[in-house]
Every structure is written in C-alpha cells, then in structure tokens.
Subunit: 161 residues, 2 copies
C-alpha cells in the first residue's frame, strides 16, 4: 500500500498529538505524543511516559492504546503520532488491527513504516517542519533519554525491518 | 540465525514463566507469562494483565519489561515466555535489543518468530507439552478473551510477517 497525503482534518488531529508531545517535553520526558480517533472523535490521547512512570514500554502510541483501554474497535480507528513508530509500536498497530496511521515526523526517526505498508496499513506522512524542529531540539538537549528510549536501534542498527 | 535447543537451565526459568501464566489464569486473565533473566538471575517477572488492569498493551512480555523498569541492560538478558511473542512483543524485543528468547509454546500461536530470527535474535523453542495443553484449555474456556487479546491476528490473518 502506498503513502497517502494527510487531509486537513488529519493535520488537525496531528496537532493534538503534538500537544501531547510538548506536554511530555514540559514534564522532562521523551517528547512524543499520539492520539487515537474514531469517526472524527478522539478516543484516547497518550504520550511517552518512560520518565514520568519509569515505564519503558509506554511510548506515545502504546500509552494512547493503554488509555483507550478495552472495548475499543481498533479496526475502525486512525492513530496519529508525532514521531514515526518504532518496532514495538508498529507491532502494536498490527496486533490491534489499526488500519491507518498519520505521522508528523519520520525524518528524525524512520521507524518501521515499511513493515506496516507491507501489511496494508495506510500511512499518511505530514513531515511537519515544526514537529521535526521540535524533536531535533529534544534530541539535542536530551540525547541520554533518546538513547535510553530507543535502545535497540542505537545498539543494533540492523534492528529495523 | 537458526533455532537452538533450550538448556536445562532454560527449562527451569521457563517454569517460572509458566507459573506466571497459571497465576494469570487463576486471576481470570489471559494465561501467558514471562520472565527476564540476566547472568542467571531473574530481573523481572510478568504476565498478561488485559483483564486485571484493563490494559490491552500488557502482554506477558511487555508486563515483564515494564516491571524491569529503567536502568536494565536489556542487551544482556534472555526473555522467557510461555507463548510465542505477537507482533507488539516481538517489536519490543527488537526495540530493547533483547538478544535471546526462550519460548514454551509456539504450537498454539506461531507469533513473529521469523521476524526475530531475521534480526539475529536467538530463539530456543521448548514446545513443552504441559504448556501447550494448558494454553489449549485456556483457549477452549475463554475464546472471547483470546480473541480480544490478539485481535489484529483474528481479523487480519495476513498481519503476520
């Protein structure tokens, strides 16, 4: 499945994911946020909580799915994320059958987009300059946190699909 | 990287993962457990908490990594799991750079083992008859829970790598 362009409505929801990312940054955490939407309504919001909860599995996307909880028909949702999903988050997207993902920034981190495309997940890339610059600033300021958060990629460059 | 056979020590740690799975079953949850080991010592234990915490991202493996918390050198650990890891948990294994995984049962659910092998994760398969029979019983008794837990696989058989 090819990339698609985000719609204006997509860009609106992506701003909410970016708000979450900025909130995480303000809390001293890893600056990534996500929002889950169904039928034009926000189901859940989330942000990376590695620092806030000392919990390495809470990336923006997984925190968002946690906050959605049980009883959500993930097959009818779109996931908005400020940064391209890592292997764990891409795997969660497949596990829950989320059919569409809108990504604010895949320049700072390529993530596992190709794997998702091979499994017919629709991917919309915004490559929003403000999000890219924001994340670059976070990485400059807290390289220690970013390395900790994305550890397998740093140590094993071949870990990407 | 090819499969390897589990050692006797591996089988001992796998029993601890099975204990977690049985504890989860006793709690009315999804019956999968995991243990993380470094240098012959247990770093953390975990079990699926979908029911117990209404949290769909806590599979046995991700709960175990959550319980390990920060400051663990995952690159020096082995993860033991009673059931073959799904896409999210396999992705977590790559994200955290866990180099070795020992699996009790990959007959009941194939999981994403091939993806891990392609990324040079060492996989030891025990295919323990008691674990396989135990999990078959759980699935017979609670098909609703299993479907909820592994939703994307049920709805999209092509979701496996």
């Amino acid at each position: 499945m090819p990339y698609v362009d985000p719609t204006d409505r997509d860009r609106g929801f992506l701003r909410l994911a970016f708000e979450e990312a900025r909130q995480g940054y303000a809390e001293g955490g890893v600056a990534v946020g996500a929002v889950l939407v169904r039928d034009g309504e926000v189901v859940a919001r989330g942000r990376n909580r590695l620092v806030q909860e000392s919990n390495p599995i809470l990336h923006g996307e997984t925190d968002c799915i946690r906050n959605a909880g049980r009883g959500v028909d993930f097959g009818q949702t779109t996931l908005y994320t400020s940064l391209s999903p890592c292997a764990m988050c891409a795997g969660a997207i497949l596990l829950f059958g989320i059919p569409r993902v809108v990504i604010g920034d895949n320049e700072s981190f390529p993530g596992e987009i190709d794997w998702l495309l091979r499994h017919d997940v629709e991917i919309a890339l915004a490559n929003d300059r403000e999000m890219i610059d924001f994340f670059a600033r976070f990485r400059r300021e807290r390289p220690d946190l970013w390395d900790e958060d994305i550890k397998g990629y740093v140590e094993r460059p071949g870990a990407q699909t």
